[in-house]
Point group: C2
Chain length 280, copies 2
């Protein structure tokens, strides 16, 4: 595995790989890798000849009151995990390498980005889409893999690829969970034992709703009300930001939780904001 | 010359050309081609093995009260001119092919786009940057050529390429003028004989300012005041929108019109909006 830290070096490798006729797969990450990330790398390997991963904690997608400074980092461990997961090139640029001080061009999405996490995280998706567009132009992949865990992000990136015509196939990889059901996240490291016990209810209420829907009780209003009641009863210290049942592509709320629909939840457990979702 | 009308066909050609190791030059246009455009194509040829030109009257860069419907078109003539200018591929998609009805992702620039033409043409540069980003992803050029005539557009596209890390070299080509000095523009076809006589003063006042600056009178305030006085005297029916002396890269107004500085002017002649500029 080769490690690259400059845009020029990354673009030179990208050009070489294209010239050699290799199909390049790309997995962008913010590091502090877990099995969820490794599953993305394995999936990239299945879709490509050469796998590029990036580790970059993108400052522009954190709000002023969010956890940029505290975001967990462990570059030595990330290097080992990438190497043992079959990554061919690991791209880990500095913030200064990625953003010039007077940068002023951004990618914005006006519809899908306004609800769900976008409602509370102003500017977050501008930061996400801009850095992903930049990374796409640095890595020039044929295929890029994103996790279903960040469902709104995955929908937005698919929309960006469609609307800006990036010549890139997007693959969305299923959520990887801990044995107890908690969706894997770098932020899980923030959780105390008690907080983690509460956090498990995010997954449990999603499972309950999916079960109800599979048994024919597919009215969104009832499912949402039952989820909220269960959370209030079992995990009263969870601060629920949203629970929504939406079309998985347009992210527009739907009245019936039919097959293919996305149920998404965000909540704070102590100071830690967690998200989870299920596609029916 | 081959003509392409779908994004899929264009991207297939782009992949073929890259796989063959050819350097691709790109000239995006809105058609109704004149010698200014042809000079861009010749310059693209000097920088590339294969030249792609596009003809697409981009609806998103016209405001609601602008001339989208009246914008001059002559596809048959454009085809001939491209073929005789050594264009290898002419890409002329429909608006429906370029934009899906529910498109929602745009490229925005927050600083350089606010002054000069951006001050009066709300949304214009969002439309320009978005369509150019889309065309870049459709054509995948190594080098793209833009005209200095649209000075703010050229600065913005260079900024977009820098900030979004497009792996594309931008070449800016000098303004081509009619024998009488009028900068070539597809919109010149709108001008009556009288309007054209007035329009010539755009170029003349720029020449006067450049001469004054070359003779040492480089204070921007004096130059601007002299330009305005000359226009008021010689071309009273020109409706001047702006005259500015700015840094050619940042577009920030400068106090001294030193070498490399941009003097830009926009004015309406009757219903026709014209722009012109000079770099000292």
């Amino acid at each position: 595995m080769k490690t690259l830290s400059t845009v020029a070096a990354m673009q030179a490798v990208a050009r070489e790989q294209r010239a050699a006729g290799h199909r390049v797969g790309f997995v962008p990450t913010m590091g502090f890798l877990h099995e969820g990330h490794l599953s993305l790398m394995q999936l990239a390997r299945e879709h490509a000849d050469v796998v590029v991963a990036s580790v970059f904690v993108n400052p522009t997608q954190f709000g002023p009151n969010e956890d940029l400074d505290q975001y967990p980092r462990n570059m030595a461990r990330d290097l080992e995990l990438c190497a043992s997961s079959g990554v061919d090139y690991l791209f880990c640029p500095s913030a200064e390498e990625v953003y010039t001080p007077d940068c002023s061009v951004y990618v914005d999405e006006d519809v899908l980005s306004t609800g769900l996490c976008g409602a509370s995280r102003s500017g977050h998706f501008r930061g996400v889409l801009t850095v992903v567009a930049k990374l796409f132009n640095m890595v020039m992949p044929d295929v890029a893999v994103f996790g279903q865990k960040d469902a709104q992000q995955a929908a937005l990136i698919q929309r960006m690829v469609r609307d800006l015509n990036f010549p890139i196939e997007i693959v969305v990889s299923p959520i990887v969970r801990e044995p107890d059901g908690l969706a894997m996240s770098s932020r899980n490291t923030y959780l105390s034992v008690d907080e983690r016990a509460q956090a498990l209810w995010l997954h449990r209420v999603l499972k309950q709703a999916a079960l109800q829907a599979s048994e024919g009780a597919d009215g969104s209003a009832v499912l949402l009300s039952d989820m909220r009641a269960l959370l209030a009863h079992e995990a009263p210290s969870l601060d629920v930001e949203y629970i929504e049942i939406v079309d998985a592509v347009s992210l527009v709320p739907v009245e019936s939780a039919v097959s293919g629909v996305l149920i998404a939840i965000a909540a704070k457990v102590g100071k830690t904001r967690l998200i989870d979702n299920v596609i029916l």
